[in-house]
């Protein structure tokens, strides 16, 4: 295959990989914001915890990272669920109105960011750490890709889609969507709102954790790594329309591809490019591309 096509294929796969991870993270945040109404600034910390836990489980205990998915996902789900049941639920009881709740929950989530990040610093130390897994080449049509790249790509998009179908088809999923649209009516129709909100927060956290498990195969880990993903998730969910799950999925893929393309031109510009697009969009179409 000619060099240029290999290059383009490389960027495309890289973009989809990054996009798949972004999509997972953003879908998680979108659930937390769109349904539970918490703009969670500690979202990225759950990615970091997922990633570090995988590292520890793999290097110390020897558990295969893909098995880690089914251990860490549920555990982080539970943490998120309980966090909402205690902290955020209490905040919502105390807030006089929706705006006050939005503000106080942002700040509380910022407090969580500090707690989680510094617990991680105490536990895992400040240095970068990494491990290798499935780090061998696989040839697709002559181009060589590392196996873990393809695994991450497959899993992240797969999990994203499964989750989307879960929301669209299952009873719980319908309850969640009803709660997102109109909490008052939904609770009249017999949806247990508090449980649904906590579920959503838990699912959101779990998706971040899963993204962390997957992405840890490819990147060096550090307790401060989470924040940048929080920022990216915020960008993506604004791009896709605050609270729109499909918007978050598609927005994530788009941003990943844009990121990979800009990086291939000038890596120092990729964050600036994200922000530029993001702020332009906020101004021109605050509802986001897919927002109604």
């Amino acid at each position: 295959m000619p060099e240029s096509i290999v290059n383009i294929l490389d960027i495309a796969i890289g973009g989809l990989l990054l996009g798949g991870i972004y999509a997972l993270i953003a879908m998680g945040m979108s659930l937390q914001y769109g349904v539970a109404r918490v703009l969670n600034f500690s979202h990225g910390e759950f990615i970091m915890v997922g990633a570090f836990s995988t590292l520890t489980l793999y290097t110390v205990v020897g558990i295969n990272p893909l098995i880690c998915l089914v251990i860490i996902g549920p555990v982080i789900f539970l943490i998120g669920f309980l966090l909402h049941r205690t902290l955020f639920h209490q905040l919502s009881l105390r807030a006089p109105n929706a705006d006050a709740y939005a503000a106080s929950s942002i700040l509380a989530s910022f407090g969580l960011l500090f707690i989680i990040q510094n617990l991680a610093l105490l536990g895992w130390g400040a240095d970068y750490q990494a491990y290798t897994y499935l780090n061998f080449g696989v040839s697709i049509g002559g181009a060589i890709f590392s196996a873990n790249k393809l695994v991450i790509l497959g899993f992240s998009i797969g999990i994203g889609l499964i989750f989307y179908i879960f929301l669209a088809r299952t009873r719980t999923g319908k309850g969640i969507r009803a709660a997102a649209q109109d909490p008052a009516t939904a609770s009249l129709m017999g949806v247990n709102i508090n449980r649904v909100l906590a579920l959503c927060f838990g699912f959101g956290a779990a998706m971040a954790g899963i993204a962390g498990v997957l992405y840890s195969m490819r990147i060096p880990l550090n307790p401060a790594m989470g924040t940048q993903y929080t920022i990216i998730a915020i960008i993506v969910i604004v791009l896709g329309g605050l609270g729109s799950i499909p918007g978050a999925f598609i927005g994530g893929l788009i941003l990943g591809i844009i990121g990979e393309v800009v990086t291939s031109i000038d890596p120092s510009l990729s964050m600036a490019a994200y922000y530029f697009i993001f702020m332009l969009l906020l101004l021109v179409r605050p509802k986001g591309i897919f927002g109604k």
Partner: protein, 321 residues
């Protein structure tokens, strides 16, 4: 957000205490150690940012996370005009430039975004910090090929007095705006923006002007603060944490009273200065815990708590919530 009114009654004792503290501050360099002068400069820096933040966000209810952007612009003003090779302009002029540059950016950003509602505004202001930082970073590295900028040394007492001067200015501004017609307009907006606009209040203008005033003080504070840092780069100048600290300090101190934000800033900044170097992680961890607890259990801040306790002790006529 709490916007309970500052009571003009019981003005006497706080007035005297204020005067004593002020006299102590003005004469501090005469009797205080250099360490104390530097420490109090830091406390004043945080107090300036916190009060400036409350000036806009506390009264209008729009949560701005742009503090770090304006502070950073101020820092950069110093980096450009007060290089180690010698001042290109008098320091006070640079402080003014830092303030003005910030308020111009605030004016522009405000005109664009203050029509956005609540959460979008918050997200936008947060993005502003990182956008400016990333663009500057690119400009410095790719265009100017400068890694760090070195800033000239300034006498610590001089920095202290400029910081104190800014503090007095921001407090006076806050005090008078809050009691003025303009302040009533801001509080109305904080309560119900739609009703305010139908009451004849030009809500957009009020918000933009206040945002710019608050940014002025943030920028000016950044400009003088920069002279304490020997060198800076975009990552040092624009720290996202600086956007959140004033919010926390204001909440911790309580926004219902003019002294609340100051007290919150002073306590937190003091703890930060004394504990952070020794027990960084533990400090930051407790910072998070206190933040969460304060939001949960002290919605009116320390001052609100003290007032409540005080009323109970003094026979508690009516406990305001």
């Amino acid at each position: 957000m709490d916007t309970t009114r500052f009571k003009s009654k019981g003005f006497y004792i706080p007035g005297i205490i204020t005067l004593i503290i002020f006299a102590g501050l003005v004469t501090l360099p005469l009797f205080g150690s250099l360490y104390n002068v530097i420490l109090i400069t830091t406390l004043l820096m945080y107090a300036n940012l916190t009060v400036s933040w409350v000036l806009f966000s506390g009264l209008t209810g729009y949560m701005s996370l742009a503090t770090a952007a304006f502070f950073g612009v101020g820092i950069y003003a110093s980096a450009l005009f007060l290089p180690i090779t010698g001042a290109e302009l008098p320091i006070l002029v640079v402080v003014l430039i830092g303030g003005l540059a910030s308020s111009i950016i605030a004016f522009g950003a405000g005109a664009l975004t203050l029509r956005l509602r609540g959460i979008y505004f918050t997200i936008f202001t947060f993005g502003l910090v990182v956008l400016i930082m990333e663009l500057l970073n690119w400009w410095e590295l790719s265009v100017n090929k400068i890694l760090n900028r070195y800033i000239m040394l300034v006498d610590n007492n001089y920095i202290f007095y400029v910081m104190l001067g800014l503090f007095v200015l921001v407090m006076l501004t806050f005090f008078f705006i809050r009691r003025s017609k303009f302040g009533l307009a801001m509080r109305s907006i904080g309560e119900n923006e739609e009703a305010a606009s139908h009451m004849g209040i030009n809500v957009t203008m009020v918000k933009i002007v206040t945002f710019a005033i608050s940014a002025f003080f943030m920028g000016a504070t950044g400009a003088i603060w920069a002279t304490k840092l020997s060198y800076i780069n975009p990552h040092e100048a624009f720290k996202v944490l600086i956007s959140f600290l004033p919010v926390l300090m204001a909440i911790f101190g309580g926004m219902g009273h003019i002294y609340g934000p100051v007290i919150g800033a002073v306590i937190f900044a003091y703890l930060q200065e004394t504990l952070q170097t020794k027990f960084s992680e533990i400090y930051m961890l407790s910072f998070g815990v206190v933040l969460v607890l304060a939001i949960l259990y002290m919605p009116h801040g320390l001052v609100g708590l003290i007032q409540k306790v005080w009323r109970r002790i003094s026979g508690g006529k009516r406990v305001h919530t």
